[in-house]
Amino acid sequence: MTLLCASADEAVSGIADGSTVLVGGFGTAGMPFELIDALIRQGARNLTVVSNNAGNADTGLAALLAAGQVRKIVCSFPRQTDSWVFDELYRSGKIELEVAPQGTLAERMRAAGAGIGGFYTRTGVGTLLAEGKETREIEGRTYVLELPIAADVALISAHTADTLGNLVYRKTARNFAPVMATAATTTVVQVRHVVEPGELDPEAVVTPGIYVDRIVRVPS
């Protein structure tokens, strides 16, 4: 059942130290800023964060990193012109980094959500990112075995939710959110609008409410 929360602080309550947290967004599009700010106030530490990037400028995920709450980050593209918070932590050995190809990152979370124990992909074969991973020939092509990324919590952003937790997104702000929603034990969503069941087109729902545990409306 989906819980409509009164505040972002309520929505992120109970996140434990040491949790694995999926954080939606591609750059700042779809980044759940208010939930991250609440997680900073909530104070859980020693987190493993999975997100496409490692924070931009000084807000959002970058602020969470700056707060010293993140032990390890799993992402595809940490290095950006405005990733100075991460860069500094990384160079001073204060954060662990695991780089994964972007499609592998998405597919590993999808696997966790879909009950797939592992899958073979051609991406990364023969590269540094496949070192130490099992490879296998299938029908004459070489594949690398990748394992699921399951998480304790997903923090994502959507455009509109109904009170059952069905979600729709807006343009490329959709990005990782629907996949992350499936891969976490508890999925927390910040939305711009909340409507009653029946107000979203059932053909256009992107994330069915079964994947959503907590919703909070934030000012748009």
Binding site: M1, R110, A112, G113, A114, G115, I116, D162, T163, L164, N166, T182, E196, P197, G198, L200, P202, E203, V205, P208, G209, I210, Y211
Partner: protein, 227 residues
């Protein structure tokens, strides 16, 4: 969810449950707001016994959450059917998705509960419900294996004995298996059972039969108490 009874309740002053009563007993154990898949056949009838305010959301594996009651008359729409291919309706808050997404939902452990029929269930919770294994029988599995493996809890709804009087709760299934160690509870016409996972079968309630008689007729380790 109703707590497991500390000791069996025996209703020996009446006969076995009818099919409607069986469905009602099971429906009463479905938690409020649960996401539930009801298998083809008798399990489908459980929907008729869910109170409207229970907020239970029905999944059908052919790509829908928020399935409503059977469609009749002008409401019949060939594009809107359930897993048994009968016309159904759509409730507010429904959503549609394709088959890979629908089965990812099942296989990824997101459904709270599924209700399935069975040929046999073993004391360890092995389920046999897809194939009689008879020579000439055409095998057809549908979504049974996916449901049995994927749902967080699996309830079986079946008569306890075959027409020939053979018990369907057995030490080891003789029919081809659907999935290993997946069944949590069994709802039958004469008793409800809890599978504990350590090869004990706990009787929760009986109708028209005593615990002692049940024990004499089933070749599994039956307990009257979870402790």
């Amino acid at each position: 969810m109703r707590p497991v009874s500390a000791s069996v309740v025996e209703h020996t002053d009446r006969g076995p449950l009818g099919r409607d009563e069986m469905a009602r007993v099971l429906a009463g154990d479905i938690p409020r707001g649960a996401y539930v898949n009801l298998g083809i056949g008798q399990p489908t009838t459980v929907a008729d016994h869910l109170p409207p305010d229970a907020g239970v959301i029905l999944h059908t594996e052919n790509g829908m959450l928020g399935m409503g009651p059977a469609a009749t008359g002008d409401a019949i729409d060939p594009d809107l059917i359930n897993a048994g291919k009968s016309p159904v309706t759509e409730l507010p808050g429904a959503s549609y998705f394709h088959h890979a997404d629908s089965f990812a939902m099942m296989r990824g452990g997101h459904l709270d509960l599924c209700v399935l029929g069975a040929y046999q269930v073993s004391a360890s919770g092995d389920l046999a419900n897809w194939h009689t294994g008879e020579p000439g029988a055409i095998p057809a599995v549908g979504g049974a294996m996916d449901l049995a493996v994927g749902a967080k809890r699996v309830f079986v709804l079946m008569s306890l004995f075959t027409r020939a009087g053979e018990p369907k709760i057995v030490r080891e299934c003789t029919y081809p298996l659907t999935a290993l160690r997946c069944v949590d509870r069994i709802y039958t016409d004469v008793a409800t059972f809890e599978i504990t996972g350590d090869d004990r079968v706990v009787v929760r309630e009986t109708w028209g039969i005593s615990f002692a008689e049940l024990r004499s007729r089933l070749d599994v380790r039956l307990e009257r108490d979870v402790h």
